[in-house]
C-alpha cells in the first residue's frame, strides 16, 4: 500500500520532448515508473525512450484505451503550466507539477479546477511523489529511498533527500514520500497529505519536513493532528535561524511579521504531540522511539 501512486499507476509526461521532460522520462523509466504516453503539441508520432508521443492528453487517452494514463507529470515552463494542468485535469487525470515560478493566481485556478474535476494535483515547485520500489512521478534520486512504512510529506526537495537518506540508512523505509512544494499555495495541502497517510494501512508513522512561511503547520496542529490524524508524527522544521521579512529561496519561505516562524510552528506542533527533530540526522532516532 501507499498513497496516491503505486506500481500500476499509468503515467503521462506533458512536455516530454523538452530537455527536462526527456531527461526525467528516461530516469523515471529506469526507476520503474510505468510511463505510457507523452504529450507535446505538434509532435505526435514520435517516441521518446520508447514512449509514444501524442498531440494532446485527450488524444493519448483515446488511443490508449484501457491502458490510458491516470496521472500526468508536467515538465512545462511556468507560463504554460495552467493550460497544461487544465488539459490533464479536464481529461480526468491527476497531475504532478514540478515547475517553479508558477504565478500564485494560476495555482489558485488550478486548485479550483482540480476540485471541480475531483482530481488530485501536487505541487507546484516540488520534487514530485515516490512510492519506493514501485513508482516515481518526480525528479528525486530514487536510490536514496527504500521501501517501508514511514510516510514522508515535505515542502522541500533536497532537504527531503537529506532526511530520507538518514531514514533509509537507519532501516526506516518509506511507504510514500510526497513533496507538496515550496510555493505559498500547495495544490495538495499538508492537511490532505496527512489524512491520506492516516488512511493508508501500510503507513505506521509520518515524517513532516517543513520550513518557515505561512501557517499550515500551526493550522494542522490545531485542527487535524490528534483528531483526524492519530499516527505518530516526527517533524523537522527548517529556517530556525532565518531573518524576518527575507524570502529564502522558496517563494513560500518567508516570515511575515509574526507569522511563519519556526518557533510558532514548533510550539503548535509540540502541543499537538508531534516530536521535533532539531537536525535532519536526528529524525530516525526520534522515529524509532515512537514506533
Amino acid at each position: 500500500m501507499s498513497i496516491l501512486v503505486e506500481r500500476d499507476t499509468r503515467v503521462l509526461v506533458q512536455g516530454i520532448t523538452g530537455t527536462q521532460g526527456r531527461l526525467h522520462t528516461e530516469q523515471m523509466l529506469k526507476d520503474g515508473t510505468r510511463i505510457v504516453a507523452g504529450v507535446t503539441p505538434g509532435k505526435a508520432g514520435r517516441t521518446i525512450a520508447g514512449v509514444p508521443v501524442f498531440n494532446s492528453v485527450r488524444e493519448a487517452k483515446r488511443k490508449l484505451g484501457i491502458k490510458a494514463p491516470n496521472w500526468s507529470i508536467g515538465f512545462v515552463p511556468a507560463p504554460f503550466v495552467k493550460a497544461a494542468a487544465f488539459e490533464a485535469l479536464d481529461a480526468g487525470l491527476n497531475m504532478v507539477i514540478i515547475s517553479e515560478h508558477v504565478p500564485v493566481h494560476d495555482s489558485l485556478t488550478i486548485l479550483a479546477r482540480a476540485k471541480a474535476n475531483k482530481r488530485f494535483a501536487i505541487g507546484p515547485n516540488c520534487p514530485g511523489i515516490i512510492t519506493p520500489g514501485q513508482t516515481k512521478l518526480g525528479i528525486m534520486p530514487a536510490e536514496v529511498f527504500s521501501r517501508g512504512e514511514i510516510g514522508v510529506v515535505s515542502r522541500s526537495g533536497t532537504l527531503t533527500y537529506e532526511v530520507v537518506s538518514h531514514l533509509s540508512k537507519a532501516g526506516l523505509g518509506q511507504s510514500t514520500c510526497i513533496g507538496i512544494g515550496g510555493d505559498p499555495i500547495n495544490l495538495t495541502s499538508l492537511e490532505q497529505a496527512l489524512i491520506l497517510f492516516e488512511h493508508d494501512p501500510k503507513t505506521r508513522a509520518i515524517v513532516l519536513i517543513a520550513e518557515i512561511g505561512g501557517s499550515s503547520e500551526e493550522d494542522v496542529a490545531l485542527r487535524v493532528i490528534g483528531h483526524r490524524v492519530t499516527k505518530p508524527l516526527v517533524a523537522f522544521l527548517a529556517g530556525r535561524s532565518a531573518p524576518v521579512g527575507k524570502q529564502l529561496g522558496h517563494a513560500g519561505a518567508i516570515i511575515e511579521g509574526t507569522t511563519g516562524s519556526v518557533l510558532s510552528k514548533e510550539r503548535a506542533l509540540i502541543k499537538a504531540g508531534v516530536h521535533i527533530a532539531r537536525q535532519p540526522w536526528t529524525v530516525p532516532k526520534l522515529l524509532s522511539r515512537v514506533l
Partner: protein, 365 residues
Amino acid sequence: MDLTEAQGKKLFSEYRLPVPRAYEARNVTAAVRLAKKFPRAVLKAQIPAGHRKKLGGIVMVTPITVRERAKRLFGKSIVGYPVSSLLVEEFVDLAKEWYLALTIDRTQRQVVLLFSRHGGIDVEQLAKTGTLVRMPLPLTAASWDKFLRQAGLRNQATVTQLKRIIRRLIKLMYQSDALLVEVNPLVLTTSGKLLLLDSKVTIDDAALFRQARIKVAAFKEPDSRVVVAQKAGMSYVPLLGNIAVIGNGAGLVMATLDALTDRKAHPANFLDVGGGADRVRMTKALQIVLSQPGVRKILINIFGGITRTDEIALGIVRYKRTHRLKIPMVVRLVGNREIEAQQILKRAGIRAYYEMQEAIKAVSR
C-alpha cells in the same frame, strides 16, 4: 515586488478608484511648486516601509513651510532607504479611518477580503482590536450581507461607495496578479466621500512576464550581488556572519544555516545554487559569497539529485586555482556522480565530506 504608494495609487486610478489629488516630486523645487496647488498638502516619502508617519516620513505642509520640510525629507534616510521621491498630496479632512485589504490566505488557499473600522494602525495591532472582518472570495449576495453586518456598516450612501470600491479592487487584484492590495486607511471624508488614502500593493514576481504595465522595478535592490545571483538562477540573501554558505535547494540551505547557528557559528549568507547547477554557476556562486567582506570560511553542502556533483566539484576546483583561494573551505558532496566528484576534489587537495553533520562540525570548529 512591492509597488511604491505612488505606483499603487496610479494603478488605483486606472481602475477609477477614488484617491486624493497628488503629484510625485523628485526634488525640493518640484515639491515646492506642486504643494502650491493645495492650501494644505502632505509630503509622503516613497520608501518601501511601513510606519512612515511614526518614522517621520509623512509631514503636513503649507505653501510657506513646504521648502524647509521637503529639504529635510530629501536629506533623510528612513530605515536604510534614502528618500528620493515624495508624493505631494492634497490634505484630506477625514471623519473616519478604515482598513480594507485583499490578500491570499495560504492555509485556506483562497483570496480573502479584510475590513476593519479601526484603520490607520498596522494590521497586526488591528487584529488585536477584534474588529477585523474576514470574507473569502468570491462574494455572494449572502456573504456580502454578512460582511456588512459584521463590519457594522449601515449608511446606504457609504455602503454603495464601498461596494463599488471593493468590486474594482477585486478586478485589480486578479488582473494585475497582485498578492496583496491593502488600503490603510480607507477614509470617509467630512463630506461623506470614501477615499483610498494609502496603497500597499504587492505583485507576484512569477507573473511579471504578463504584467508589462508594471515592469518598472519599484525599488532597485541595493545589493548588486542579489541581482547577479538572481540572473544566474540562484537565490542569495546576505546575512551578518563570517561563514559563507553555498548549497542546493532552499530547504537544505536553511537547514545548513540552522545547524551552523546551533553550534554558535555565524553564516554570512544564504545561497541556493538552484536545481541542475553546473561548474559555471558554481564558480559564480563562490564569486558572490566571497565578495562579501568579513568572510573567513566557506561551507559547501550539496545533495545531488538533478545537480551533478562532479560539475560542482569542477567549479570549486577551477575557482580555487584561478583565484588562489586561501580561505578554509569545507565541502560536502553526495548524490548524483558523487564518486567522480570526490575524486576531482581529492586530486585538487580538497577534502570532501559525505555526512552533513561532519561538515558542519568541521567548519564550525
